[in-house]
Symmetry: C2
Subunit: 355 residues, 2 copies
């Protein structure tokens, strides 16, 4: 079989203080292996993580030049000898993870996103020393475990944002029992939250949305919320005391009224924050969780098994993101600014213009 | 039937700055009701909560004079017309809670300790306006739901500390699946922790004890720990990565190496802190729990159902506290000082000397 392409081109950032100064460069793809899939990228979603990374909010860049993007849809151009799941020409996706050890208990038990050797899609390194680069680019190559088949029923620009924003909320929702007979709270309506409302609704739960933006009420209800609660209203939590089985917060962990939200949980309930602030939680005491044995936790993207479940549900139920605009990749800076300034409603998608 | 006694005498504190100046006073017991049990107190354990309360650590006293003590064993002297579970002369116990609404879902589902109308055994008020007073006293009266039969196999001084220290750890252990095939971490070996080791062991779990006091290793192993880990050793957590299903911390929540402990949890694992510090958790970020979807939570004593399970297990397995000394109640100050200075190993019990 022919050798796959060795390089790709992308839009990247060299200086976190100039995070909209994208330059086009050629970069090396990982050394091809028999389990690898190579794809030409068609579209890529713009995620909050892209902004955190290229602005230096989560620390300095790990390489001199970094191409962000981990909501990638494209067409397979090459498969290694061990790849049976995909074939050349097939439409597939890659999310926020491109490798793990694939040998440990976590990898063997559909928890590869928690493997200690997990490799992020960009701003990280493959074991061969090659820098991982993201999807604001022409191509990506990675192990088949981290490649997802995209159902025909989902358009590429709708599928892209599911691969990080969608999966990040789908995984904790299903792991924490979201389904018929359950009442689930969703906090924060943004790129992640607007998927969470749809998934929780279509998984069969009653959905209560908590937001400090009353102007998002209509969006929340149209996405499947049963009730919308403005957290700016005094005593908003009183009516929901002991009513909620599980809360997923996609808002900044430090901007939410944590004590009030915890009071709405039933006994042994849990609040998972997928909002990852730069600062530690303020003022959280064990006592805040003593009155109902509540707990607070976190979650990290999702497994391939969950990605496949999510894509199946999305295809069946017509779940899709609300997209501001599909822009050519050369206009990445416009999308980045909108995400940074929180004017995005609810996702930008970039379309290939380098290939 | 004759009327029960209207009053009792006890050792109490009036000024949190003079928390060893116990004075003897007579006080009123709650208005007798048909579901009430009245008992003459034989012994009462000395709990960390007693110290937090009478030193003002958890806020000012709610009454001009407060008798602490909520690990109470005594003999029934009177039962109301509706009481079928207990009879006069029977040995019974009362723990850290003396009332709840007994009508709400939580009360109906064996979660009465999480009822919003729960009344603490002392430093609180009954609905009739009578101040609740604790067990450093001659008698107590309360609703039968908060009275526990004590198995013959357990001596009174051994049973007393179970009713708060024991139940506070037994409840979260059983609610979080402690049993055969599970590995449970216990953090902190004190009044609570030394019960937690025994319960976790006799519930069938593998028990790993984490402590910053290497001199407690022998005690830990003799109580049933399978392994003892000194948290002062650098990298102590590395060996336990992904090994522990559940952690119960009975140490001060701010004194434990939280990040290291969380790293030992399996996916979706939980750490419950029953240590309630005056200050908030320091430096806890959602990110600290992202690598394994862990969570941190709290718990509040236990239900009557759990108290009965605990006493049955203790009777069957010979579980009992390690008691420093059984002192006459008039020497309460000595026990209080030892608990405050953390020289207690592991529980003081006070014996009746006023009746």
């Amino acid at each position: 079989m022919s050798s796959p392409t060795a390089t790709a081109k992308g839009y990247g950032i060299s200086d976190t203080s100039k995070y909209t100064d994208f330059s086009v460069k050629e970069f090396k793809l990982k050394t091809p292996q028999s389990d690898d899939v190579t794809l030409d990228i068609e579209v890529c979603g713009v995620c909050g993580s892209d902004v955190h990374t290229i602005t230096g909010g989560w620390g300095e860049l790990s390489a001199p030049w970094v191409t962000p993007g981990h909501e990638i849809i494209g067409k397979v151009t090459h498969v290694g000898d061990n790849v049976k799941e995909f074939k050349v020409g097939q439409r597939v996706g890659v999310g926020a993870q491109v490798l793990s050890c694939l040998k440990c208990d976590r990898c063997n038990e559909d928890n590869e996103q928690y493997c200690p050797e997990q490799v992020d899609t960009y701003n990280a390194k493959f074991p061969d020393g090659v820098e991982s680069q993201g999807g604001y680019s022409t191509a990506i190559r990675t192990n088949q475990r981290f490649v997802f088949a995209i159902p025909d029923a989902i358009k590429s620009e709708d599928a892209a944002p599911m691969l990080c924003a969608g999966l990040t909320v789908f995984s904790p929702l299903v792991r924490n029992g979201t389904g018929p007979g359950k009442t689930v709270g969703i906090v924060g309506i943004g790129g992640l939250g607007h998927f969470a409302i749809q998934f929780a609704h279509h998984l069969g739960a009653k959905v209560i949305v908590f937001s400090h933006s009353p102007n998002k009420k209509e969006d929340a209800l149209s996405l499947g919320a049963d009730e919308f609660v403005s957290t700016s209203d005094e005593g908003f939590a009183d009516k929901y005391f002991d009513k909620i089985d599980y809360i997923l917060s996609a808002a900044d962990a430090n901007s939410i009224p944590l004590g009030d939200l915890l009071s709405t949980l039933k006994i042994d309930g849990k609040l998972t924050s997928v909002g990852l602030p730069d600062e530690a939680w303020e003022g959280l005491k064990p006592q805040s969780m003593a009155s109902n044995a509540a707990c607070v936790g976190c979650s990290h993207i999702g497994s391939k098994k969950e990605a496949n479940q999510m894509l199946k549900l999305a295809a069946e139920k017509g779940i899709k993101p609300i997209i501001d605009e599909v822009l050519p990749m050369s206009q990445a800076a416009k999308a980045i600014e909108s995400v940074k300034n929180n004017t995005v409603r609810y996702r930008y998608v970039l379309k290939q213009d380098l290939a």
